[in-house]
Symmetry: C2
Subunit: 270 residues, 2 copies
């Protein structure tokens, strides 16, 4: 049997009771570690679950999933993923492949940023299409996500912006070498995302300006959760601390309850 | 302290370990029972948690929340809600009021249909605004949600339709009496929702016809989970069994991986 278990927002205790039972009874447990960054670290998960986890990186999931499935045919194997199992296309694809091979599977759902984002007080059903903001390089600055944010705003909807993470990215230098070397993990902060937004706004005057309201969220669901509401310009200077970060562009007009809720996160000017 | 704990998709074991610890340590635990229908029943939750729960109905939450807060000042009180705590405006409002009264609170997130809907294979980030389909009466047939579905489709986005539930609704006859009487709980099935959609389509010719693809989901996350993909017309005749049901109107063009995943749920014609 192949189990794919969402471990939620990243605190060891965020796993469901159903998920924990599976983790403790499976013969092998893999931890998927490239579509998200685990806030608490593998070791604290292992201590809490009282068992060893096998790290499954991008190569393993995308190229060597046969190993995962080979074991699933004869034994119980679990793959742990941050958030909900259906949060990343990779996992949906994995389930399809398990199905094709006739391997029985079970999914255990959990919270993900896609629903937990409502902790900022903006109602989930008023969110439009979710966008991803990628890291820019000197020569590659995609900005098509901005049109989606504008469309959502025109329809009176909020936009959740998922911010880029880079885990186990081979260094440019090592691509031509036999032995791959990897860049250190990076995650985009709300400040970096806002800086990229400012560049787009400068070039494409629209209804969204540097004074438009944005909401920065860091470490949602954790004890150190931090939410800040301020203008895009102000957000470029905010340091919300360790990962993960997400940015929300609220609709131009919010429901009174949403506005009231957001006010508690207003940036206190020093 | 006031805890508001999401219990997820409704199976007793869907609570997180963090949530279970809170439930077992609190002085009082309320179960919110009107914004959703609990699939498993209060008793099976009580057996699993090994403690009594106090049922909190609409009147209690909306009119007598002072009782909840009065206890929270001196003791630890938890309110359990199906799905995620921020899934219903009522709960966001409750947290605001706790804050105003200076009562410390903690939120425990969990899966909800708003993210678990992706189990049908349609990617969450390609969903547009979520709509609610209300029960019609002979004289009240609101259909403004249909325009939102059309807008989502025009933007190439899927629509999650939340289907109406009626819990502890006073009977019309008892409204004028001293003693309220309540209608039995009802939940809208994907078949009923599709029948209402057919009526709208008949009156408002658009890109959505009776042959358009819809996906019906029942009891997501449970062992008896059932997903069926077929035309709206065919869905009017499907019986997906006990609650809760949700309906998805996919975008006109899906990603190949989405289409491949959906195919497993294709209605097998008898």
């Amino acid at each position: 049997m192949f189990f794919i278990v969402g471990i939620g927002l990243g605190d060891p205790e965020d796993i469901t009771v159903k998920g924990l039972k599976i983790v403790q009874n499976c013969d092998r447990v893999y931890l998927e570690a490239y579509t998200s960054i685990l806030s608490c670290g593998q070791e604290s998960l292992e201590n809490f679950y009282q068992r060893k986890l096998i790290l499954a990186d991008r190569e393993m999931i995308e190229q060597h999933s046969d190993e995962l499935f080979a074991h699933s045919i004869v034994k119980d194997v679990a793959l742990l993923v941050v958030g909900d199992p259906f949060g990343a296309t990779t996992h949906t694809d994995l389930i399809l492949r398990a199905k094709e091979k006739g391997i029985p599977y079970q999914v255990v759902h959990n919270a993900s940023i896609m629903n937990a984002v409502a902790c900022c007080g903006l109602q989930l059903y008023s969110f439009g299409e979710t966008v991803s903001i990628p890291y820019w390089t000197d020569s590659w600055k995609p900005d098509s996500f901005f049109q989606k944010i504008l469309k959502n705003q025109q329809m009176g909807l909020h936009t959740l912006c998922l911010l880029d993470i880079r885990v186990r990215e081979p260094t440019l230098e090592s691509l031509s070498k036999k032995k791959r070397e990897y860049e250190p993990p990076r995650f985009m902060s709300v400040s970096e995302a806002s800086q990229q937004l400012m560049e787009i706004i400068d070039k494409n005057p629209s209804e969204i300006s540097e004074n438009s309201l944005v909401v920065g969220l860091a470490r949602v669901g954790h004890k150190t959760q931090l939410i800040v509401a301020c203008s895009i310009k102000e957000m470029t200077e905010q340091d919300l601390g360790p990962p993960l970060h997400s940015l929300v562009i609220p609709a131009r007009e919010c429901h009174p309850l949403e506005t009231e809720y957001l006010q508690q996160f207003n940036l206190v000017k020093l």
